[in-house]
Amino acid sequence: MTDNLIRVDNLTMHFPLTRGVLANLFAREKKFVRAVDGVSFTIRKGEVLGLVGESGSGKTTTGRLILKLLEPTSGEVFYRGRAISSFSGKEMEGLREKMQVIFQDPYASLSPRMSIGKAISHPLRIHGLADGTLARDMTLTIMEKVGLTPASFLYRKYPHQVSGGQRQRVVIARALVTSPDFVVADEPIAMADVSVRSMILELMVRLKEEFDLTYLFITHDLATCKYICDHIAIMYLGRIVEIGPLQEVFRNPVHPYTATLLDAVPVPDPRFRRTLPMPRGEIPSPIDPPPGCSFHPRCSYAVEACRIQDPPLVDTGGEHSVACPVRTGRT
């Protein structure tokens, strides 16, 4: 399995619940936010994995764990077959060149007091890849590539002086300037305006081909996945409930939650008005998740066993795995 670029094995992140000093003294037991709870998947070179879930499902935390912006409670991330935790400080620096990130809010991910050119060329300087005029030329080239034209004019501008769409292009350019091979895109188009979204999405698809990239595409919007993802993973309360090739999951959603999510997407066409009722209730708190299958309180297929047993992710064939013993007929 050498073509696996990224492998995530049983990744877990439990944030201790922060409270006042005194509250902690009085509390009998420490509580945790179970943000990510045993997530495993692989991303092959040149593939796009869509990580889909509602807010609080742990998808963003998973992205941060892979980038080592957070230290996992347990579990491991492998890059080209090697555990990231075994990387030395120097090697980690090299890895930062190869793994990049695009955040949801381009305005917040750029320092307001650093010019666009400086921001994009900063990774080059940090990694000692280029300096002076060379760095400037490389920056201008990448700016042209992501459509930030006229590049030499925009080079000196500050983030607040350009439009929202352009800001997201700046962030993309900064992520690509060190020629990485893996990019985590955390809801890259969620903040953009409707008419700008498709532009950014198209740009990301084009750059993927041009730079031979692999993406982890984090989103809450299943409809967008269709245009960029090869595989998708559905997350609910810190766990993956279903993972598989995009077409397969769309056509044949097995987990009741996936089916709900697919049905909930508002379709911009009155011919497809939704008729099925939505399940009641909302995602429970990740502090005290329900025992067993965390979706069972809202699930119409739930049986007694769902309340007790943690459902494992089971392969149903064709790389399609589902964590629902009832629907996969394994109870």
Binding site: S195, L262, D263, P266, D269, F272, M278, E282
Partner: protein, 324 residues
């Protein structure tokens, strides 16, 4: 009033925000007619003036925003010229509004019950506190919330529940027009779908007329009878929902529809629209959309297009000058 009668008529409405560096012309000459019992979807991108239009119906513009011209006639009364007392009596009792973010729309220091009691006693002087609480409790239960939660505070509720409380507050006086300003933007997909279902259900139960303001075309497709598309403070197109999605006329509507992902259809590729939304302090001359329009003709940059009526569509575009 019978279903189908005009309940609200907006004519040539202009809204301005004077700021230090100039005047933002947020709404520029919008005409709109609303029939009793219909759901009107008001769509557009951020800054297109859709929310401003919604707020001006209740004259809730934040200073320095002001209505610079035009009329908003509700059941024969012009809201623009209405006195303060009549306006207060109208707000919340005849026309109600719900907002984008349900967390920030409730006063964090007041319990849910206090919100209801305050609204009820404002409009019905004679009502007592106990009776008000009783009625509020019934309302909450009809929305699927236990009535003992009246004692709780907004921060103790989940997002979906807060939005249902907002709608309960809006409907407690039995209004006949509900303005919903991006009511689901802050909600997750599943809760959003739940909420849209609820809204559709309440429309029938309360015999409501609804203006649904949103940037999400999927939402309006699910609920609206007619749709108004706005761009750059002006109205681009008004049409019945089905016909708008089937056969959009305005180039902006077409571009917008082709650029949003549709999970049910097999579009191989999304369209993209060049450029970015206009600066409303110095809007482009003529048609606001012409700098981004692929079909722009020589008339567009100079003259503002009037509204043409075509197959039940109202469209503000020079392309249709000969067709109507």
């Amino acid at each position: 009033m019978n279903p189908g009668d005009t309940i609200l008529k907006i004519q040539d409405l202009h809204v301005e925000f004077p700021i230090n560096i100039g005047t933002v012309r947020a709404v520029q000459g919008v005409n709109l007619e609303l029939k009793k019992g219909e759901v009107m979807g008001l769509v557009g991108e951020s800054g297109c003036g859709k929310s401003t239009l919604g707020f001006s119906i209740l004259r809730l513009l934040r200073p320095p925003g002001r209505i610079a011209g035009g009329s908003i006639v509700y059941r024969g009364q012009d809201i623009v010229k209405m006195g303060r007392k009549d306006l207060l009596a109208l707000r919340g009792s005849k026309i109600a509004m719900i907002f984008q973010d349900p967390l920030t729309s409730l006063n964090p220091l007041c319990s849910i019950g206090e919100h209801f009691v305050e609204t009820l006693t404002t409009h019905e002087r004679s009502i007592g506190r106990r009776e008000a609480l009783e009625r509020s409790g019934k309302m909450l239960e009809s929305l699927g919330i236990a009535c003992d939660r009246l004692r709780e505070y907004p921060h103790q509720m989940s997002g979906g529940m807060r939005q249902r409380i907002m709608i309960g507050l809006a409907l407690i006086m039995n209004p006949d027009l509900l303005i919903a300003d991006e009511p689901t933007t802050a909600l997750d997909v599943v809760v959003e779908a739940q909420f849209l279902d609820l809204l559709g259900d309440l429309k029938n139960r309360f015999n409501l007329t609804i203006i649904l303001i949103t940037h999400n075309l999927g939402n309006v497709a699910q609920l609206a009878d007619r749709i108004t598309v706005m761009y750059g403070g002006a109205m681009a197109e008004v049409a019945p929902a089905g016909s708008l999605f089937d056969r959009p006329l305005h180039p902006y509507t077409r571009g917008l529809l082709a650029s949003i992902p549709n999970i049910k259809l097999d579009q191989p590729k999304l369209m993209t629209m060049p450029g970015s939304p206009p600066d409303l302090v110095n809007p482009p001359g003529g048609c606001v959309f012409h700098p981004r329009c692929p079909l722009s003709i020589d008339l567009c940059p100079t003259q503002r297009p009037p509204v043409f009526s075509l197959d039940g569509h109202l469209v503000s575009c020079w392309l249709y000058r000969d067709s109507s």
